[in-house]
C-alpha cells in the first residue's frame, strides 16, 4: 500500500514537473536543431548564448513579442481555443508517468509521479484523443484551404494510428495484468523489460507513435512542401508557439510512455542503484528515444497520404492485433 500523499506535495510536484517538461521541450527544440545541423553538415544555432544555449529563450521572447493576428473570417472562439486545448492536453498526460520509486524526505512521502491512477494508461489515451480536437479546431476555424486540408489529414491520421497505438500496448497490459503505469514499471523489476517479449509491440508502438505525434516520415499534417504549414498555417506568435509546444510535448510524453511500458521505466538495466538514480535512468532512456526520433526526421522522406493510410490499416493494425492475441494465448497457456 502506497503511503498517503499530502496535497501540498502533489501541488509542488506538479509545478516542478510541468516546468521540467517545459524546459525539456525548450531544449529539445535546440537539441533537434543542433543534431539536425550536425547531420546536415552545418552548425545549427550557435549565436544566442554559449554555443546557442540561450536559443530557446530567444525563440520564446520572439514569439511572445509577435502580434497574434487572425484571419477576419476565422471563427473566433475556436481559433483561440485550438492551441490552448492542444497545449493543455499535452501537458496533462505527463502527470501519470512514473519517473522514480518515491522518496521519504523529512517524514514527508514524495511519490515517483504526480498522480498514481489505476487506469493511468487509459487516461493517457483518452486525453491524447482530446488533444486531437485542438488540431482539428485550429485548422477548421482558420478559414484557410491549406489549414483545412492539414486538419483533415491530421484528423484521419491521428484517428487511424491511435487504434494501432492502443492495440500495440495491449500485450504489455496483458502481461502485467494492470493498467496502472506504476505497477507496469514494478512488473518489469528484476526481470526482462517488456521490450524483449513485446518486441513487436515496441516496434508498432514506435511507428504508430511517430505518426501520432506527426513526426517525419509521417509529418503529413504539416507537410510544409505541400500544405505550407498544415493546420497552423494561419497562426502566428505565441499561439503558434503553443501548437509547436504541444507537438514537442506530445513527443516527449510518447517517449516517456514508451520508456515506462517497454524499457523498464526508471529501473536500471539489471540493477537499481540508490533511489535517486531512478529519474536519471528514466531521463537517459528518454533522451535516447528522442534522439532516434530526430535521427529519423533527418533521414527519411515523407510518405504520401494514401500510403500512410494503407500502412496504418493494412500493416500496423493487423500486426498489433496478432501480437495482442498471441500474447494473450501465451499468458493463459503458460
Amino acid at each position: 500500500m502506497t503511503p498517503q500523499v499530502e496535497w501540498y506535495v502533489s501541488l509542488i510536484q506538479a509545478f516542478i514537473v510541468i516546468n521540467l517538461v517545459m524546459a525539456t521541450f525548450a531544449y529539445l527544440t535546440l537539441a533537434e536543431r543542433k543534431i539536425m545541423g550536425r547531420m546536415q553538415l552545418r552548425y545549427g544555432p550557435n549565436r544566442a548564448g554559449f554555443r546557442g544555449l540561450l536559443q530557446p529563450i530567444a525563440d520564446l521572447l520572439k514569439l511572445l513579442n509577435k502580434e497574434s493576428f487572425q484571419p477576419t473570417e476565422a471563427i473566433n472562439w475556436a481559433f483561440i481555443l485550438g492551441p490552448f486545448l492542444a497545449a493543455f492536453t499535452a501537458l496533462v498526460t505527463f502527470s501519470v508517468i512514473p519517473f522514480g520509486p518515491g522518496w521519504e524526505v523529512g517524514g514527508v512521502y514524495i511519490p515517483g509521479q504526480v498522480a498514481d491512477l489505476d487506469i493511468a494508461l487509459i487516461l493517457v489515451f483518452a486525453v491524447g484523443s482530446l488533444g486531437v480536437y485542438g488540431f482539428i479546431l485550429g485548422g477548421w476555424s482558420s478559414d484557410s484551404k491549406y489549414a483545412l486540408l492539414g486538419s483533415m489529414r491530421t484528423c484521419a491520421q491521428l484517428v487511424s494510428y491511435e487504434v494501432a497505438l492502443a492495440l500495440s500496448v495491449l500485450g504489455v497490459v496483458i502481461m502485467a495484468g494492470t493498467l496502472s503505469l506504476t505497477e507496469i514499471v514494478a512488473a518489469q523489476d528484476d526481470t526482462w523489460w517488456y521490450a524483449a517479449p513485446q518486441f513487436v509491440g515496441l516496434i508498432v508502438f514506435l511507428v504508430a507513435g511517430t505518426a501520432e505525434t506527426a513526426r517525419a516520415p509521417f509529418d503529413l499534417p504539416e507537410a510544409e512542401q505541400e500544405l505550407v504549414a498544415g493546420y497552423h498555417t494561419e497562426y502566428g506568435g505565441m499561439r503558434f508557439g503553443l501548437y509547436s509546444m504541444s507537438e514537442y510535448i506530445n513527443l516527449i510524453t510518447l517517449s516517456a510512455l514508451c520508456v515506462t511500458l517497454f524499457l523498464g521505466g526508471w529501473h536500471g538495466p539489471g540493477f537499481d542503484g540508490a533511489s535517486w538514480t531512478g529519474p536519471l535512468w528514466f531521463i537517459g532512456k528518454l533522451v535516447f528515444l528522442l534522439f532516434i526520433f530526430i535521427w529519423m526526421r533527418t533521414t527519411l522522406p515523407r510518405l504520401r497520404y494514401d500510403q500512410l493510410m494503407r500502412f496504418g490499416w493494412k500493416v500496423l493494425l493487423p500486426v498489433a492485433t496478432i501480437n495482442a492475441v498471441i500474447t494473450a494465448i501465451l499468458v493463459v497457456a503458460l
Binding site: 539536425m36 547531420m39 546536415q40 553538415l41 552545418r42 484551404k145 491549406y146 486540408l149 517525419a216 516520415p217 509529418d219 503529413l220 507537410a223 510544409e224 512542401q225 505541400e226 500544405l227 505550407v228 526526421r297 533527418t298 533521414t299 527519411l300 522522406p301 515523407r302 510518405l303 504520401r304 497520404y305 494514401d306 500510403q307
Partner: protein, 422 residues
C-alpha cells in the same frame, strides 16, 4: 533520334484538349460542389520560385490544373536590344540563373556565329569544362530541392555542399560565383588560373563518390521509391508533341541529346554516354539526372587533360575589331588605343543577319535566336527556354495525382522561373 521500346506507359495521349496546358474539371463535379480550388503559389514553399498552380482538388486528388507564369518576367530580351553586343552578355546568365554558364555560352556562341569568328582551342575546352560543371551544379540544385520536397531534408545540404565546390571553381576562374560572365565573344575573359585544373581534378575525383552516396541514400529507401515510381507519367509521343527536351525527354525513352546529335564546341571529340530511361516517371527523371552527373564528370576530366595540353596557348581570338587589345599595347600602339576606344564606347559591329543556335543546357534544348541589323546592338534577341517548354507538360503529367505527388511531379519538370518568364 531513336525511341526505346518500352512497356506502354499509357494508352493514347493524355494531353488535355482543347488547350494542352489547362486541365479542365468535369463540369458535373463543379455542379455538385465537390471541387476545392486551391492556389499553389506564386508564394508557396515548393514551387521553384514563382510558379503559380491553380489546382482544383477533389478530396486530395488533383482534378484540374492551370499553371500560371509571368511573375518573374524581367524583360531581359528587350533590355538586351538596348545594350551593345558585348554589354548584353551579362543579361544571358541571369535568365536561367541556375544554368548560368549555359545561357551565357549560348548567347556568345550565337554572336560568334553571326560574326563568323574562330575561337582558340583552349577557350573551347575551358568553355566545355565549365558547361559540364554547370550542368552538375544545376542537377545538384534540382536533386536537393526535389528531395526536400519529398521530405528528405538532409540531402539538400549534401547537394549544396558539392554545389559549393563547383561555385568555388567558377570563382577561381572568373572571380564571381554565379553569373560569372567568363565567356567573352572570341574566347574567354581571361586565362584560367594555373591551379584551376588541379582543383577541378580534385572535384572530379570526389563527385562520382558523392553521386553514388546520394543514390544509396535514395534508391535503398522504400519511401523514396514509392513516392517517385509511376508518378508524373509522360509518354514519348506526348513528350515530343509538347516539345520536351533534355532530361524530361530522355526519361521517356527518346534518345536525343544535342551534345551528341548536333555537336557544338568540341563535344564530338570527347567520350560520353547519353543516359536514357523508358518509363517517363519521376523516378526515371531522377535516374537521368544522376547518370548525367556521372557523365558530366567524365567530360570534365577529358576537358581538363586538353586544358593541360593547351597550357600557355591563347585563350581569346586575335581579332582586334571584336576583342579588346591587350592592356600593355594601349601605351605603345595608336591603333590598339583606337580599337579599345571604339569597342568600349560604341561596341563592336556584327554583320547583318539572323541566326538560331541551340545547345543542350542542363534543362534541355536552350536556343537563342538573334537578328542583327549590322549595328553595335542586337536588333532582336529571343531565347528558347527549356523551362518554358517543360512547364507545358504540367497539365499532362499531373492527371489523377494526389497533392503530394503534384509537388513531386511539378518539381521533376525542373523549371527555373527566370528561364520560363524571362
Amino acid at each position: 533520334m531513336s525511341i526505346l521500346p518500352s512497356t506502354r506507359i499509357y494508352e493514347g495521349t493524355r494531353i488535355p484538349h482543347p488547350v494542352p496546358t489547362i486541365l479542365e474539371v468535369d463540369p458535373e463535379k463543379h455542379r455538385l460542389d465537390d471541387i476545392l480550388r486551391v492556389n499553389f503559389g506564386p508564394n508557396h514553399p515548393s514551387t521553384h520560385g514563382v510558379l503559380r498552380l491553380v489546382v482544383d482538388l477533389d478530396g486530395e486528388t488533383v482534378a484540374g490544373i492551370r499553371a500560371v507564369i509571368g511573375y518573374l518576367h524581367t524583360g531581359f530580351e528587350k533590355n538586351m536590344e538596348h545594350k551593345s553586343w558585348w554589354k548584353s552578355v551579362t543579361y544571358a546568365p541571369r535568365i536561367d540563373y541556375v544554368a548560368f554558364h549555359a545561357n551565357e555560352l549560348l548567347y556568345v556562341l550565337a554572336i560568334e556565329k553571326l560574326l563568323g569568328i574562330g575561337v582558340p582551342r583552349r577557350a573551347v575546352w575551358a568553355r566545355m569544362a565549365m558547361a559540364e560543371l554547370n550542368r552538375i551544379h544545376s542537377h545538384l540544385v534540382w536533386l536537393g530541392t526535389s528531395a526536400l520536397e519529398l521530405g528528405a531534408i538532409s540531402l539538400f545540404w549534401y547537394c549544396f555542399d558539392d554545389r559549393d565546390q563547383i561555385l568555388d571553381l567558377f570563382e577561381m576562374a572568373g572571380g564571381a560565383r554565379m553569373h560569372t560572365r567568363y565567356v567573352q565573344v572570341g574566347g574567354l575573359a581571361e586565362d584560367l588560373p594555373p591551379a584551376f585544373t588541379a582543383e577541378a581534378r580534385k572535384f572530379c575525383e570526389s563527385m562520382p563518390k558523392s553521386v553514388d552516396e546520394y543514390e544509396a541514400i535514395l534508391d535503398r529507401n522504400a519511401i523514396w521509391l514509392e513516392r517517385t515510381k509511376g508518378v508524373g507519367l509522360l509518354s514519348a509521343d506526348d513528350a515530343l508533341a509538347l516539345a520536351q527536351s533534355g532530361p524530361m525527354l530522355r526519361s521517356t525513352g527518346v534518345d536525343w541529346d544535342l551534345r551528341r546529335d548536333m555537336p557544338y564546341l568540341a563535344y564530338d571529340e570527347v567520350e560520353f554516354d547519353v543516359p536514357v530511361y523508358p518509363n517517363g516517371d519521376v523516378y526515371d527523371r531522377y535516374k537521368v539526372h544522376m547518370d548525367e552527373m556521372r557523365e558530366s564528370v567524365r567530360i570534365v576530366a577529358q576537358c581538363l587533360d586538353r586544358l593541360d595540353e593547351t597550357d600557355g596557348e591563347p585563350w581569346i581570338a586575335d581579332d582586334r575589331k571584336v576583342v579588346l587589345p591587350p592592356r600593355h599595347e594601349l601605351h605603345t600602339s595608336m591603333e590598339s588605343l583606337i580599337h579599345h576606344f571604339k569597342i568600349v564606347t560604341e561596341g563592336f559591329i556584327v554583320p547583318e543577319g539572323e541566326v538560331y543556335v541551340a545547345i543542350e543546357s542542363p534543362r534541355g534544348e536552350a536556343g537563342c535566336y538573334l537578328v542583327s541589323d549590322g549595328g553595335p546592338r542586337p536588333w532582336r534577341v529571343k531565347f528558347r527556354a527549356p523551362s518554358f517548354a517543360a512547364l507545358q507538360a504540367t497539365a499532362t503529367i499531373v492527371q489523377g495525382l494526389l497533392i503530394a505527388d503534384l509537388i513531386a511531379a511539378a518539381g521533376s519538370l525542373d523549371p527555373v522561373m527566370g528561364d520560363a518568364d524571362r
